[in-house]
């Protein structure tokens, strides 16, 4: 079983134009999401950004992570509506089998009322289909189940 490669890092942009990044651009020092996200501010845009080669080296040196560099066009961006709630997470999959690589899905989107919009890529940059992405959000699964019950009543 191999460690997951770190393939993307997050960046948040608030309505007031200020931004915060998971890793400091110069030092590579990491900020935990819970300490970064300001509850007093509204996120306008969120990004999962692939690493450039120089930045991967900075982060690897500072944090010791195994970092994978993907093409920059694999960047994921989400414009979060003012009444939307940001969905930003990594979903890990650990197979219990010798020599099997772990997989990590980088998910990004927002929920608003009864709707949720989500996209994602895995740690190799492979894009999830809309159906795969929708299954990643429990609230969407629950909404589907509720709709089914209503149809059969």
């Amino acid at each position: 079983m191999l460690d997951t490669l770190l393939s993307f890092f997050w960046i948040l942009e608030y309505q007031d134009g200020s931004t915060i990044c998971q890793f400091d651009r110069l030092s590579g020092r990491e900020t935990l999401f819970s300490k970064a996200k300001d509850p007093q501010k509204t996120v306008r845009r969120a990004v999962w950004m692939p690493f450039s080669v120089p930045f991967a080296q900075v982060v690897r040196r500072q944090c010791g992570y195994h970092v994978c560099c993907l093409p920059t066009e694999m960047m994921m961006v989400c414009e979060v509506p003012p009444d939307g709630e940001l969905i930003l997470r990594k979903r890990h999959r650990i197979p219990m089998r010798e020599g099997t690589e772990r997989r990590c899905l980088y998910l990004l989107g927002y929920s608003r009322g009864d709707e949720a919009h989500i996209t994602g890529r895995d740690n190799r940059g492979l894009m999830l289909t809309p159906q795969e992405a929708a299954r990643m959000i429990p609230s969407v699964e629950k909404m589907s189940a509720k709709a089914l019950l209503e149809e059969t009543d």
Binding site: M1, L6, E30, L32, F33, S34, K35, C63, G64, Y65, L88, R89, K90, R91, H92, R93, I94, P95, M96, R97, E98, T100, R135, P138
Partner: protein, 191 residues
């Protein structure tokens, strides 16, 4: 540091926890049995059953992270072992709530000297599952997109999640030998 997550097997009365990558079901309370303690095929043909010792597996969460939750478990839908007509790879399930076993409900596996006790045996079964109805389910029922809900707790510090309890039931018409590797997968969210 981000979270460092490993799969651990719990054994013994303590219990002790050991990182595992390719665990093997057998009739011993051992995380690394190799080819020792194989499950004996019952005599008398189909309809006669034997059980492995049950095994507890947990996710061990270490280092720093904001939150880990939505711990799930699944397989590819088919366990291709020659475990006979009525053979099943079981996972412990609860009637409601999370199906995973909290660390505090760990119970050391044991047997009758020939094979293991069924986890739902009314006398010698696993206390966390034997009173449930049915208390165990076929792991083949849980696949990608229809996973077993193991632990919905928000974990925000280094600790272990709820675990899964697995047990193999074999039928008397099983085929002798080492079975092919099967992939069982953990899933969790991190931010």
């Amino acid at each position: 540091m981000a979270a460092t997550v490993t799969v651990v097997e719990a054994n013994g009365a303590g219990p002790s926890y050991n990182t595992v990558t390719s665990p093997r079901l057998c009739v011993a309370d051992s995380y690394n049995p190799g080819l020792d303690d194989p499950i004996p095929i019952p005599s008398g043909g189909a309809g006669n059953y034997a059980y492995s010792f049950w095994k507890h597996f947990f996710l061990n969460l270490a280092d720093s992270f904001t939150r880990i939750n939505n711990v799930k478990f699944y397989c590819d839908g088919t366990i291709g072992w020659n475990f006979g007509t009525g053979g099943v790879l079981y996972v412990g399930v609860r009637d409601s709530g999370d199906n995973g076993c909290p660390e505090g409900s760990y119970e050391q596996a044991a047997g009758d000297g020939t094979d293991g006790y069924s986890m739902v045996d009314g006398t010698n079964g696993h206390d966390y599952y034997k009173g449930q109805s049915p208390g165990e389910a076929n792991i083949e029922d849980y696949t990608d997109g229809s996973e077993l809900e193991v632990d919905t707790t928000n974990h925000e510090s280094a600790e272990r999640t709820y675990g899964v309890v697995l047990q193999l039931k074999i039928d008397g018409d099983s085929t002798l030998g080492v079975q092919t590797d099967e992939t069982l997968t953990w899933e969790y969210d991190e931010i």
